[in-house]
């Protein structure tokens, strides 16, 4: 009996200990933080998140970064790598034993391909945690729940958010909520070959102002292009980009006072008078041999860029990023083996203005396509206990893009890729010659891997001439228009491209081109529901 009593006591004590352990354990797990209130003090927030992760037994956080674009825009991925290093440093300095590791760094040349990849892999949980892409895709991704809404987090970081240009923050919103932070933007300058202009007596002095005031219009562009061709100063009067993915040519619609989107009806717009004028101008240029009829099938590297850098055209509709692309790619083949241009050559041979007004009384324009840092709505999924600590991973991911938006990271990207900075502090930095010198020597506090990846690009692109160019074109953002961030816009852009190609080749008249666009829109009932056709082909309009 005594023995039984002893066993009973032992059991009670044992269960008591176990139970108290369990209860105690439960209490401990209840106190384990699964969320941190962001305060806006970066170091404090990073440390708080780090400690919460550490307390939960997490010492390593894995993220992946997906970016895309031209060869010089690699900071779209390396910005995240650098942000991770800076966060790790904060943790190290504060005795927090947690590290961020960027496991997968994916960089695609075509941003549309990267978007399709993200779209198909996100639901499978295989897409990158950070995704930099055009703002144009943000509405679809937000609507499908594929990217993280960061409005609440951003409220705590108002001082950082306020440093971004407001129009770019607006471009990062969907339905009034913030879904990303601007990464870069650009303008699309209208380039003029100074040497060709000189041959035909085209004085470029004060041209920038004339364009700004709407005094130099597309009729003038036509006259000078014609003169350049007729005098044999250049093979072509005008060269421009191709394809529907690069919406440069819709600048004509804006330059002729048209619109592409109606804020009230939330529909895309086929603005018939403006589109007709656009097609007519291009048709006239092509018919008169000033613009290649087959420009839409020209090869980028072997035809379009060489024609500009070798001075075979007077005008070119391009983008700011051309400026450094010409300095890194072997497009100039006049002396035998193709080579890149030197910064001095680019500066000497190319002048730039806004895209001129379509006709008198209208305004010049430019076009921007901001890129945005977006966070996967499942960011951090490759880490342990994701569901439990999801909020912590998401907060950390948000702080990562806050860090990746540091003025120096943004300024480096701007200088080496000739994109425009998205925040005022970065814009100031690129005017700082001392800082530029440090960048030129890569004497900056950057991750070694980032430095190694930037070395070649920095060597060829960091130059006072390039920094001056960026400063010079920054004013263009005041005139900028954005292509509509509407899920159906790419379909409409495709139709524009098809019509323009047919008009340029002379297979269709400009009127037929407009009719073709309307027919194509109406052929797809879903597209037709999202597009309004306004206005008529002007009867008495003349060009030039």
């Amino acid at each position: 009996m005594k023995g039984k009593f002893g066993i009973l006591v032992a059991l009670v004590v044992f269960f008591g200990v176990v139970a108290s352990g369990c209860i105690g354990g439960e209490e401990t797990s209840k106190t384990k933080a699964t969320k941190v209130e962001l305060t806006g003090d970066f170091v404090k927030d990073v440390v708080a998140i780090g400690k919460a992760l550490e307390e939960n037994g997490i010492n390593e956080v894995k993220f992946s970064a997906w970016g895309s674009g031209d060869p010089n825009s690699v900071m779209r991925v390396h910005g995240i790598v650098e942000a991770a290093r800076r966060i790790n440093k904060v943790w190290e300095e504060n005795g927090v034993n947690v590290r961020v590791i960027i496991t997968d760094k994916y960089y695609a040349a075509a941003f549309q391909d990267a978007y399709q990849e993200y779209l198909s892999k996100q639901p499978l949980g295989q897409a990158g945690d950070f995704f930099v892409n055009s703002y144009a895709f943000l509405p679809t991704l937000a609507d499908e729940g594929y990217i993280l809404e960061i409005t609440e987090y951003a409220n705590a970081y108002k001082s950082v958010i306020d440093d971004f240009y407001p129009s770019l923050i607006e471009a990062s919103k969907f339905d009034g909520k913030l879904y990303g932070l601007p990464q870069d933007t650009e303008a699309r300058p209208f380039y003029i070959r100074t040497d060709v202009a000189a041959k035909i007596g085209f004085n470029l002095e004060g041209l920038e102002e004339k364009v700004k005031n709407g005094e130099f219009t597309w009729s003038d562009v036509y006259q000078w292009a014609k003169k350049a061709k007729e005098n044999g100063a250049a093979e072509w009067g005008l060269i421009h980009r191709k394809g529907s993915a690069h919406p440069d040519l819709i600048q004509f619609i804006f330059a002729f006072g048209g619109k592409l989107y109606d804020e009230n009806s939330k529909k895309l717009v086929v603005d018939v008078p403006a589109i007709y004028k656009w097609l007519y101008v291009e048709w006239k240029f092509a018919q008169d041999g000033l613009l290649p009829k087959d420009i839409m099938s020209w090869d980028w590297a072997k035809q379009i860029h060489p024609a500009i850098v070798e001075g075979r055209t007077l005008f070119d509709i391009g983008g700011t990023w051309y400026w450094t692309e010409w300095q890194t790619k072997d497009y100039y083949g006049k002396e035998g083996t193709p080579r890149p241009l030197k910064p001095e050559e680019v500066q000497a041979w190319l002048a730039y203005t806004l895209f001129p007004a379509g006709e008198e009384g209208l305004n010049p324009v430019t076009l921007s396509q901001p890129f945005v840092w977006m966070i996967n709505s499942q960011a951090g999924q490759q880490n342990p206990s994701y569901e439990e600590f999801k909020e912590l991973y998401h907060e950390l991911a948000f702080l990562m893009i806050i860090k990746a938006s540091d003025p120096d990271i943004n300024a480096i990207h701007s200088v080496i890729s000739a994109h425009l900075p998205v925040r005022k502090a970065a814009a100031e930095l690129i005017r700082d010659e001392e800082w530029l010198n440090e960048l030129k020597n890569l004497n900056l506090n950057l991750d070694q891997e980032v430095k190694d990846n930037l070395r070649d690009i920095v060597a060829t692109t960091v130059h006072p001439i390039n920094a001056k160019f960026l400063a010079d074109v920054s004013y263009m953002l005041e005139y900028t228009k954005l292509a509509p961030a509407h899920p159906k816009y790419p379909a409409l852009a495709d139709i524009f491209k098809e019509a323009l190609d047919k008009v340029l080749r002379g297979d269709m008249s400009p009127e037929d081109g407009v009719e073709y666009i309307i027919q194509k829109v109406n052929a797809d009932p879903e597209l037709a529901q999202n597009v309004e056709v306004i206005g008529e082909v002007p009867k008495d309009w003349q060009f030039p």
């Binding site: 198909s120 679809t140 729940g145 087959d294 099938s297 072997k302 194509k520």
Partner: protein, 313 residues
């Protein structure tokens, strides 16, 4: 006894039944179901249960009726499938017969050469022909012809409608498809007892007579298989065409077949509309089934599967 037979049958047929069920039937049923939903952007959670009836089919037929490109696309589909099919089947047969009469090492080299288009990644292979047929002086073909003095200005091969565009897409796809027929026919020729060929040789038959009287009749089954397979494959192929059109090498209207049109409409414009794509896939499957059925009828498949009458009662 009957049970035993069933058991044996099940044992031998089960791998095939599982394969067909898993990779053909279930996807087919899913595709048909998805074609009745609003499924897009791969968002199964949101759209898979949103049934919209015949909406996707109505949208597709509306496009077929009103798209100004559609006549060119349908014509291109017929010409592309018809001519490429002839090239694929006859080219494969000719290559197999040709290599049958040469020594084995030369035959292997020739076969390997013809397999290159199929072995090369699609983008690389298409890029080769992009630069070859490019419509300016950077195009290899134009450059050669200009150096030879045959032409003074470059010819925009793929942009000459319709035959220029058709020729390029047929040529590029034709080269890829020939190797398939070649392998099947080569394998079938190797199954023919050598004695028949030797006996014919002894009797003084020429290579042409051997081919016509012995080899071709004995490859009838394979011919039927290659023809039907390639027909279905050409009806639904689009990767090479997609790149050639996307790179503006060939005219969009006369370089686009029905399969590519559907792909571009459902996937190529920013959105990924799986509902619409599934409806199109169902329609293409129906066309394929009808086409396959007609091919089998024309080539008298039923007669071929009759049990041989045999010579001994």
């Amino acid at each position: 006894m009957k049970g035993k037979k069933l058991q044996t049958l099940s044992f031998f047929l089960s791998p095939m039944i599982i394969m067909v069920g898993l990779f053909y039937l279930i996807p087919l049923i899913f595709t048909i179901y998805i074609s009745f939903t609003k499924m897009k952007n791969w968002n199964t959670e949101k759209y898979l249960s949103e049934v919209v009836g015949f909406y996707n089919y109505q949208r597709l037929f509306h496009m077929f009726q009103h798209d100004p490109m559609i006549k060119a696309i349908l014509l291109t589909t017929v010409i592309f499938v018809g001519i490429t099919l002839i090239i694929n089947v006859l080219g494969g047969l000719l290559l197999a017969l040709g290599t049958f009469f040469v020594n084995e090492s030369s035959a292997s080299a020739i076969r390997l050469l013809w397999l290159l288009p199929r072995m090369s990644p699609i983008a690389v292979y298409s890029l080769v022909w992009y630069y070859f047929f490019h419509g300016s002086d950077i195009g290899t073909l134009n450059s050669i012809l200009m150096k030879l003095g045959a032409i003074s200005t470059p010819i925009p091969w793929g942009q000459m409608t319709p035959w220029g565009a058709w020729s390029v897409i047929i040529f590029v796809n034709g080269l890829v498809g020939v190797s398939f027929g070649m392998i099947v026919f080569t394998s079938s020729l190797n199954q023919i007892p050598k004695e028949l060929v030797i006996a014919a040789r002894v009797d003084g038959a020429s290579a042409w007579q051997i081919s016509r009287r012995i080899l071709i009749p004995l490859t009838k089954w394979h011919f039927l298989y290659v023809l039907t397979w390639q027909f279905l494959s050409l009806l639904t192929t689009y990767p090479h065409l997609f790149l050639l059109v996307e790179w503006d090498l060939v005219n969009r209207d006369y370089g686009t077949t029905l399969a590519l049109y559907v792909f571009n409409t459902a996937f190529g414009r920013g959105e990924q509309d799986q509902g619409l794509a599934a409806a199109a896939a169902v329609i293409l499957s129906i066309i394929g089934i009808l086409g396959g059925f007609v091919t089998l009828k024309v080539l008298q498949f039923e007669r071929m599967i009759h049990e041989p009458r045999g010579d001994i009662e």
